[in-house]
């Protein structure tokens, strides 16, 4: 019953009326609940299926998204969410398939010289921009030279700091000279980080900062072009007829902003939308009766517990190991996460480069062992810790409470605080906890070196993580890693770091958490782990 779960969402405000009125109200409330439940059931069995496109037009796709894009330019201040959407409009030099593997994008190939100080990109011929121009090496060189300029404040700038100069050698060849060796340079430009825009549009808009503020400046080479952007309301895209990889089957793509999860669910069940992003897990059972299903995608979303190894009780290795033994990850996954998560016992995820595939679980669930380790750590009478739960991941409150129980059970008594992602950031900046349940989106590179550098590289990484776990040996390996190509030992270095993090119980790795989508059964489409990819969606 959708009604029951939706009603459970909040308290009923009190009334000042007398007792008789309260009784009358209760009766009315109960009656209306019943009526609604019946309406929901009846509707489900006799009404039109949710999946038939709400517009009645098979080439229109309506997607309910949880947020609005903040810009139509990937190069400037795009957020993670923006990037996911904007890959519909802009292509990068290097693409990724739905599992995150590198694919040729606007560049057919990319080769370094012997010491990785120069990279040569061979471009795809006959690629059209949305304004009808043909992409040339000059456009690409111009964009790269803009992004590497220290004055350029946009988001992609940080991936080009090591660029000396980009030159168009001929119409379809670009040479990029670097200030030093960088074996990962090309890989780092994949997907979100080289959204090519025509030089003429940048110049007529008055610079890169103006790109993406108005729809007419959002000119890319992607499968869809911008028709209309009503901020906070919807982004309307249409299929680009001259797309180099073939025109998408969907003619019109409406991304409709519905920030409330219950609204997205209702709109999907009512057939107003055909796809709902960030689908709430507890509504999964509603879908089958309404001709819709829940699909998952596996982006590199790390869910784990981090511990303050620099100060306080968790500076003890035994206590960190005890925390690892104390958590029954399988039980939490089955009972609170609908079995959707993949359990891990190392920081890297199965979808990432750097995942140690033959690692046995060094810390299986074993509360007795955990109690022994707590005692070995010098806390035979138990220890009180400050536990902050970042509520940003799936059902995090329930999971946090369960973890709290499991920790108490082995003698680690937590005081639990629930924090929204930004409150959690503040708490992290201030080192205001001993242990926390949190997550990291992995930087979108499908390689563990990026999140490792953010989390386990001391002050050089991210201020929020500084001091929770720092290790000289790890930092030395990080330095070496930046100078080593993946296929020349880089992957081994990532695995070495990963092994140290495991041996030293630097964190409690928990899950690779999927993204959940509510999707109409009439649609033939698989969600992508890397972005909002609707170019191959087809109505059955």
């Amino acid at each position: 019953m959708i009604s029951r779960s939706l009603f459970g969402a909040g308290p009923v405000r009190g009334t000042r009326s007398g007792r008789r009125n309260v009784r009358r109200l209760t009766a009315t409330f109960a009656a209306s609940t019943l009526v609604i439940s019946l309406a929901a059931c009846g509707g489900a069995s006799q009404s039109a299926p949710a999946g038939s496109s709400s517009s009645g037009h098979p080439s229109v796709l309506n997607v309910g998204v949880s947020s609005d894009v903040s810009t139509l330019s990937m190069a400037t201040y795009a957020t993670g969410f923006d990037n996911h959407v904007l890959t519909l409009i802009f292509d990068s030099l290097i693409a990724r398939d739905k599992e995150g593997k590198l694919q040729p994008g606007l560049a057919l190939s990319w080769e370094p010289n012997d010491d990785y100080t120069q990279w040569t990109f061979e471009l795809r011929p006959d690629v059209k921009f949305h304004n009808g121009e043909t992409m040339t090496a000059e456009d690409v060189a111009f964009d790269i030279n803009t992004w590497k300029d220290p004055e350029f404040e946009g988001g992609v700038g940080s991936f080009y700091t090591e660029v000396e100069n980009a030159t168009a050698v001929d119409d379809l060849t670009v040479e990029v000279d670097l200030t030093g060796p960088s074996p990962r340079f090309a890989r780092n430009l994949a997907l979100f980080r080289s959204p090519i825009v025509p030089k003429s549009v940048v110049e007529s808009a008055g610079g890169f900062d103006e790109i993406g503020k108005a729809p007419e400046t959002a000119v890319g080479t992607g499968p869809f072009k911008v028709e209309e952007w009503r901020t906070g309301e919807r982004l309307v895209l249409s299929a680009f007829a001259d797309y180099w990889d073939g025109k998408p089957a969907i003619e019109t793509l409406n991304l409709i902003v519905m920030s409330d999860a219950a609204t997205r669910v209702a709109a999907l069940l009512a057939g107003d939308i055909d796809i709902a992003t960030n689908f709430p897990l507890d509504q999964r059972d509603e879908l089958a009766d309404n001709n819709a299903q829940m699909l998952t995608a596996s982006p590199p979303l790390h869910v784990f517990m981090n511990m303050n190894a620099a100060n306080g009780p968790f500076s003890s290795l035994e206590l960190r190991q005890a925390a690892n033994h104390a958590i029954d990850k399988a039980k939490i996954n089955d009972e609170l996460l609908g079995g959707t998560n993949t359990i891990v016992w190392q920081f890297a995820l199965p979808v990432e480069i750097g995942f140690i595939s033959d690692l046995e679980d060094p810390y299986p669930y074993d509360p007795d062992k955990a109690r022994e380790l707590v005692a070995e750590a010098g806390y035979a009478d138990g220890v009180e810790v400050n536990f902050v739960v970042n509520t940003g991941s799936l059902n995090a409150r329930e999971v946090g409470a369960a973890i709290g129980e499991m920790l108490s059970d082995v003698g680690i008594t937590p005081t639990i605080t629930y924090a929204s992602p930004d409150e959690w950031s503040t708490a992290s900046n201030e080192k205001a906890y001993d242990i926390s349940y949190t997550y990291n989106t992995g930087g979108g590179n499908f390689s563990v070196d990026d999140p490792m550098r953010v989390l386990f590289d001391g002050e050089r990484g991210n201020p929020r993580w500084t001091g929770f776990y720092v290790n000289d040996e790890v930092q030395a390996l990080q330095d070496e890693l930046t100078q080593t190509a993946d296929d020349e030992g880089g992957i081994e270095l990532m695995e070495q770091i990963g092994q140290i993090l495991v041996d030293d119980a630097a964190l409690v790795p928990m899950y690779q958490q999927p993204e959940l989508w509510g999707v109409s059964m009439d649609l033939d489409w698989t969600p992508s782990a890397v972005s909002y990819d609707f170019k191959d969606a087809v109505w059955k």
């Binding site: 309406a39 009512a270 107003d272 997550y439």
Partner: protein, 305 residues
């Protein structure tokens, strides 16, 4: 008179300064906008660059003085999220909210006042009993709950109306219905109470004694006298509805002021929240300022020396 105008204007400006300052300080205790806007994979350099480019690395009093100086020149700062002028952005959302409020007020008056009057004419009669029951539910049911209830019945169950979004008049039906349900009980009850009170007064008895018809008695004597509290209440209802739209716009995915406010708070988009609060507070302060001054003109007894 000029002195009074000057004094009222000065105090209005002082209230605005106070509101703007309180919001400015409160916002900065909420969290770090760099963290929210850049995501958890951001590096130290990116966080620092964000704070530098938005002036957040400076002491708060410097930011505050800078902010006030900007306002004096009509510059309310740029949205962190959308990188465009915050006030312009807030104003672009006004029409959507005004549409909701206007339709809601129309239905509230067109339905609430007649029912309240009819109920008041026959206290404890059938209309009174039913309207009081509806009023109790309307006041007790939280707006988001009523909204979801309407969606479940009319969109998911019956497929009559779209659940959420904008575009056609059909998209407005459910949010306006939910807001009307939320605003109507008070209007109904005040209309009823005013009529009950007026009908018991001597001039009504005198009019009845003259043999005047019941219809004329109500329309030309009772209603006119009962109107004052009702109209006063309706003015308050508009402010009440600004609060209501924040919830209704979220539930029904309407791109109005309320939805902008909620999302800006989630994103810690300080300039937009500040511009939103300033606009709402400014509107209320301006109305009060006008009302205060109109008293001076209308009723000499209220004139302050």
């Amino acid at each position: 008179m000029l002195l009074v105008v000057a004094r009222r204007t000065l105090s209005a400006l002082f209230v605005m300064l106070f509101v703007v300052t309180v919001v400015f300080v409160l916002m900065r205790s909420l969290g770090d906008p760099a963290a929210v806007n850049l995501g958890d994979a951001a590096t130290a350099d990116q966080v620092a660059a964000f704070q530098r480019s938005h002036g957040l690395d400076r002491p708060i009093y410097v930011q505050w003085v800078d902010y006030l100086a900007g306002i004096a020149q009509g510059d309310w700062g740029d949205s962190y999220r959308y990188d465009r002028p915050a006030m312009e952005f807030v104003l672009s959302r006004v029409p959507a909210s005004l549409t909701l409020i206007a339709w809601t007020m129309l239905f509230t008056i067109a339905i609430g006042v007649p029912i309240g009057v009819l109920a008041g004419l026959r206290p404890n009669g059938p209309i009174d009993t039913i309207s009081r029951a509806v009023a109790v539910v309307g006041t007790s049911a939280p707006l988001f709950w009523a909204g979801i209830l309407l969606i479940v019945i009319f969109s998911v169950g019956l497929h009559w109306l779209p659940a959420a979004g904008t575009g056609t008049w059909r998209h407005l039906v459910l949010p306006v219905a939910a807001l009307t349900f939320y605003s109507i009980p008070l209007v109904m009850r005040v209309a009823r109470a005013s009529i009950v009170e007026v009908m018991g007064q001597d001039f009504i008895r005198a009019a009845r004694a003259k043999g005047i018809s019941e219809w004329r008695l109500v329309t030309s004597h009772a209603l006119r006298n009962a109107a004052v509290p009702i109209i006063t209440l309706l003015a308050f209802q508009v402010a009440h509805l600004i609060g209501g739209t924040i919830i209704a716009e979220e539930v029904f995915a309407q791109a109005g002021l309320g939805q902008l406010a909620i999302n800006s708070i989630r994103q810690l988009d300080f300039p937009v929240i500040q511009a939103f609060v300033a606009l709402v507070a400014g509107t209320i302060v301006a109305i009060n300022w006008l009302v205060d001054l109109s008293y001076q003109v209308i009723d000499p007894r209220i004139r302050v020396a």
